[in-house]
Each structure stands twice: as C-alpha cells, then as structure tokens.
Symmetry: C2
Subunit: 402 residues, 2 copies
C-alpha cells in the first residue's frame, strides 16, 4: 500500500531540532535531505552541498523534529470504560466496580469477544488521533487477551494497523498483564502457560512485557517470565514500581530490559541498576493524572544518574484513555517538571532507545530513517506549553509525505 | 457570509442529551427538528408528528448535545508565553521572569503592538481548535490592551472573529485585569480611567469583567467598577477568589453578577450569596492544572447550595494555554470530581446562564436556537472520559451544518 520511495527530497528554510548530542540539537537555517527512506544530511544550509534533489520543499521557517514515537501503549483493545469512569465519579468504590464486572476484566471480556477485524476497526480512530500529531512510530502491547489465541489476535491486529496506516508498529507481548478469570487464583499456573506461549509467538512480538506489582505479578514470577523470554531470544520491558516499590526497576535492569515503565515508586538502588544496564525510564503522566496520583516519579534522581527518560501515552481504557502525545508532553512538564528539552527527547531519541531502535530512529542524522514532524511553530517550547492544540504541518515517514 | 437559513431540517435516529430539567435529559430514539435557526421539536420519535422537513438527517444512533459553550476565554491576544514556561521549568522564579519582561506585561506589550487584523490572524487557530470540538458559542474578554484604544481593538477583533467563522461571540470588557506600566503603582488612577471607558464602549462589550485578587484589584475598587457598569447599563462578571479568599464571590453576588469565576478559595458565605443572586459558578480547571494548584474549588458546598456550575477553558497565554473544551470536561471530572452530567451541563445550559443566554441557548428545547453537536459516541460519559480525542461528527449552528 505504501510503496517504497526512492526519491531524493530536500527540506530547506527550516529550524531543526535534531536531537543529536545531549540537548535539542538546534540548527538555524537548516536543511534535511533524504535519498529514499533515509536521511543523507541534516544540518545547516551553509555546510550543505552537492545534492541533486528530485523535490525541494520550502519550510518557510518551520520547526522540524524527528517523527514522534509513542513507546508505551495498549492501543489495541475493544470497548471502553467510560461507564466505569462515570460510576467512580458518582462515588462507587473500586470494589463495587469490580463486582459489577468492571476493571481490566471488562476490557479482557470485550477484547476476547471482538474479532481481529473489530479490534482493528475500534483501534484505528485512536491511532489516527496520535498520527495527526506527528507520531510515526508506536509501540502496542497485547495483554487483554490472556490466552494464546486472544493474545496473538491482539498482536496480529496491532501488526495489521501498519497496513492500514502509514506508521511503524512495534509490538510487546504482555500475557503477564493480569490473571484471566478461568485461572481463578492460580496465578502461577497461568504464568507457566504464558511462558509456554513465548516460543510460539513467531514474529508477532518484538519484545516481552510484564506487570510487576502487588496487584499483578511478583518479582519472582517476572524473573521466571524473563528467563523464558531470554530462552526464546526476546527482549524484555517491564511495568515497574507504579503503585509501590516492588523492586521492579532493579529487576528490569538485571535482565537488561529495554525499558522500565511508570517508576513512580522506584528506589534509588533500582534506578542506579537501570543506569548501569542502559534501561530507559519510560514515564507515563497520563495514568498519573487520570489516577490522581500524588507521588511523582523521582525525576531528580533520574537526572543525576543520567538515565534516558522517555514519555508515552500509555493509551489504555482503564487508567489513561489518552490519545495525544502533545498532551503527554505538557503533562510531563507540568506534573513531573521535565524541562522542554527533556520532554522532546523523551518522545524522540529516548523513545527510540526504549524500543531498541536508536540506530534507526529518533534523531535527524545521516543514515537514520527519514521520519519527520514539521510544525507550524518555530520554538520547541511551543510543543510542550500548549494544551489541546495541534500545530502539525506535515508528517513525513520514510522520506515521503504521510 | 453565513446566510440565514430558513430550512426545515430534522435529525432522527439519534440519542439526545437535551439538558432539559436537572440532569442530562436523555432521550432514546430521539428527534430534533428546526425551522430556520430555531428548534421546533426535541424529543422522542414516537411523540413527534406533523412536520414536513426539507431535509432529513439519519444520525445512525449518534448522541446529540447542545452546541458547546466556552463561557470564559482570553482567546484574543498576541504572542505566547512558551518561553516563560520553559524558563520556569528550568528553575527561574516568577520574579526573575517578571524582571525579564515576562508575565502578563509580556502579553500586554505584544497585544498593544499587534494590529486588529494581526490579533484576528493569531486568534483564529485557537478558535478553530475549539470549534472543531463542537463549540458554537464563545465568550472572549479584552484585558491585554489596558487603554481605551487597545481594549476596544481587542473587543473589535473578538467581534470580527464571528465574521470569519460560524460562531457566536460574546464579549466582556476586562479593562480591570491589570495595571498598565504607564500607571506605575497608581492603580486607583488607572481604575478611574477604566470606569470612564465604560460609557464609550458602545455595543463592543456584552458585559464588564474584573480581576479581584491580592495581585490585582481590591473588592472596593471592583465595587467602584461595578457601580460604573450599572450606570452604563452593563452586566458584570468577576474573576473571584482564585488565589485567596478576597470576598470576590460575595461581591459578585451583591452586584447580581452573571458569574463569578475560578472560586478555588471562595467562602461558604460568598457561595450562599451567589446562590441567592443566581450567579453562576464558572470553574476553570485548566488554570488549576497549569498552575499546579492543590486547593480545588469547594464543589461539595456548591452542590449543596444548588449553584449552577459552568466549566470553561480560560484560554489564555499565561495560566491556561488550552484550546480543548473536551479536555476541560475531563479536568473538571478528574481534578474537581464533577460528575459526568455536571460536566456536560457545565458547558451547555449552565454556560448559557453564565452568559445570560439561557433563554436562547444551552438546551435542546422548542424555541431555542438550533445549535447542535453531533458526536460519534452514544454515551455522554465518553465525552468526559477520553483525553485528546475528538469524536465530533457534525457541528450545527442556527440549524445549518457548520
């Protein structure tokens, strides 16, 4: 559907936020050139020469950033939990909602009942909302199927979104998200089954994820899962220390995880281990906001340890029904006090690292994929400061307008 | 530009949230019919008869609400304060920012420098973002001109937005927003001048607004302003009790104000006076969020007193650079614990009351203006629950598609 593009294109009269180096890598009077899907030059107009372009695009001073990367989503699911949201505002307790069939069980039920095509149909509007704001790469997890058939259905639906839209989809297998009702309280029995699924995922999953929390799986159980992932040759990531410090950050680091996500209650020791392991800290302010959490992640410690910090939407029906990565940037700044350059690196270069794609994506550098977001603003801060405003001018993926 | 519409149109196969009565006024299998700009029927299909429509629109089960009303904005201004936002995240104090020419003074300077046409050009993208989510009526304040010439320039720009877009604009004269630099510390001198402007506003202002706060004008000064407004035959509204209890709620009530806005620190006595006076409580969660306030308005007291609660964007460059009324709904629920029906009434029937337009707007009732928002959802809660997602199907104003 989206034919490879062998054209030599050139964007000029632009301001670039290349994300090269430690900061925004700002370039005034900048040029980006691509040959086919890859960048061949990104820098000043003055130092650029010897390129014959098939097409020259005058950006009229606009800001160009790398295409945005949403590195943690549960975008593919069926149904919503708006009713539960309304009940809770009306004063219902979590227990009452659970008894009424709410909570994650409601999404598992709806997702199991949906066909692969229905999952795609329901997920496309959410995906479109993200793409409209310059997202070019998205990670999507399973975790609402909780059986081999339904988990792989979710993963296939995620993969097929990339056939329906011009976007790069990375998938994570999150069988260890919750225990399905048919297993009752037999969490270990279910986990054994999850581990047994790993060798049969084929190329449906790019990584294995787990939910390590008092209300989900223990560190020992996650270790077992990650051992099985290693045996199957799959990289890992982890939902860690969101509601309490269960040692998730350190556990993720011990297994060389690509990322540990949430981290509101991560310990300094855990974060130090992450720094040594090169594990990215993925922060999810949408869930923090939606759950009215008051304990922000330890950003100052992360800074001191020079952890790579990413931000993502966590798009999911229960705790973050959020489909705006620009709103995530604002929340990262407003709620977590991340600086502008930290926010923007968090959805480009660091998000690419969280997906293991830092050699391909996340910065405007020769050799990298030419995924761009061209904005009707000149100041990077404007992308973080506004709320509910989309200044995207043009999305470019693999060098073509998208 | 937008010709009057004399057509007889009918929307059927819809779910209605009419806002009639105390709640959402839900109607299943509903019909809305209009003759020209006014509603002639809104109710069940079963009870509807004897209407010959020029056009019948099958809503395929979609939810119809009244067109949304954003009843408190500072939409017309020049420049932005993204740089100041970035400085603050980098650790700069308010004092350092003020010394660097930031704060409201920066917006006053930019707004004074802008021509009327430049103000319109800069404001249109913000307006478009609001309209895209079903807003059909918007209130816009002056308050960044702070001299007769520049205040009226702002008000004219606001009026002229209604010529450029299909929207109803209500204006408020907010000369008493801040003291301009040329008056130094002579607040009373400036206020005298503001009062003297009132008889000369002609039809540029639908109401007079003021900022009653320790950092702005005292209750005595506001009383003087409101006396002058009464003498000029203008209704009043007030920025009240946002940062501290300065008796703003009671003051607004004493002058029969249409609304008192913010109210985080309003006293029970003040709220009781508002209830007696029929003054609407306009809550602005965008500013609360952006300023990281932790003292929410006393919603429970407002409920007990049966105050009409409205919600608005407060769109402004300093404390609420927000152009999504749907995000405001979510913030009203998430941050202020307003229920779904309270949130939706807050941007329809109660927002109409805040503008003195409750006889014309805000509910789907015969005789009212046919401003509709038709949504790609069936459950009202979905409009409040999601973040950064726009399910608008069609905006209707004065009975025509818009």
């Amino acid at each position: 559907m989206f034919a490879p593009n062998a054209k030599r294109r050139l964007w000029h009269h632009a301001r670039l936020a290349t994300m090269s180096g430690d900061g925004l890598g700002l370039v005034e009077n900048g040029v980006v050139a691509c040959a086919g899907p890859r960048i061949v030059y990104a820098g000043t107009a003055q130092e650029f020469s010897g390129f014959t372009a098939d097409e020259r695009i005058d950006c009229e001073g606009r800001l160009i950033t790398p295409g945005l990367i949403d590195c943690h989503t549960h975008l593919v699911h069926a149904g919503d939990r708006a009713h539960e949201f309304a009940l809770r505002l009306g004063g219902a307790s979590y227990e009452e909602i659970a008894r009424a069939g709410g909570g994650i069980a409601a999404t598992v039920k709806a997702t199991r009942q949906a066909s692969e095509e229905e999952l795609i149909t329901q997920s496309l509007p959410r995906l479109d909302a993200l793409l409209a704001e310059g997202v070019t790469t998205i990670e999507i997890k399973s975790g609402y199927g909780l059986s081999f058939a339904h988990e792989t259905k979710q993963l296939r639906a995620a993969r097929r979104l990339a056939e329906r839209r011009d976007v790069r989809v990375m998938t994570s297998f999150l069988g260890a998200h919750s225990v399905p009702p048919e297993f009752g309280s037999d969490r270990r029995g279910y986990l054994k089954e999850v581990c047994a699924m790993l060798p049969h995922l084929g190329d449906l999953a790019d990584a294995v994820d787990g939910f390590c929390e008092s209300i989900a799986f223990t560190p020992d159980e996650i270790a077992q899962l990650f051992d099985a992932a290693a045996a199957a040759g799959l990289k890992v990531r982890l939902h860690a220390d969101q509601l309490s410090d269960s040692g998730g950050a350190g556990l993720a680091a011990r297994f060389g995880a690509l990322s540990a996500d949430h981290l509101e209650h991560a310990s300094a020791l855990g974060l130090e281990a992450m720094a040594r392991a090169g594990t990215v800290a993925v922060l999810l302010p949408g869930a923090y906001y939606f759950l009215r959490d008051t304990h922000p992640p330890p950003v100052e410690t992360m800074r001191r340890l020079k952890l790579a910090i990413a931000l993502a939407s966590d798009c999911n029906p229960g705790t973050s029904p959020l489909t705006s990565l620009l709103m995530v940037l604002n929340m990262g700044a407003t709620l977590f006090r991340l600086r502008v350059e930290e926010c923007l690196r968090a959805v480009t270069v660091h998000a690419a690292m969280a997906l293991g794609l830092e050699r391909e994506l996340g910065a405007l550098e020769p050799g990298k994929i030419c995924d761009l977001a061209i904005w009707n603003v000149t100041e990077p801060a404007e992308l973080v400061y506004r709320m509910g405003f989309n200044p995207l001018h043009q999305r470019v993926r693999n060098g073509h307008d998208s």
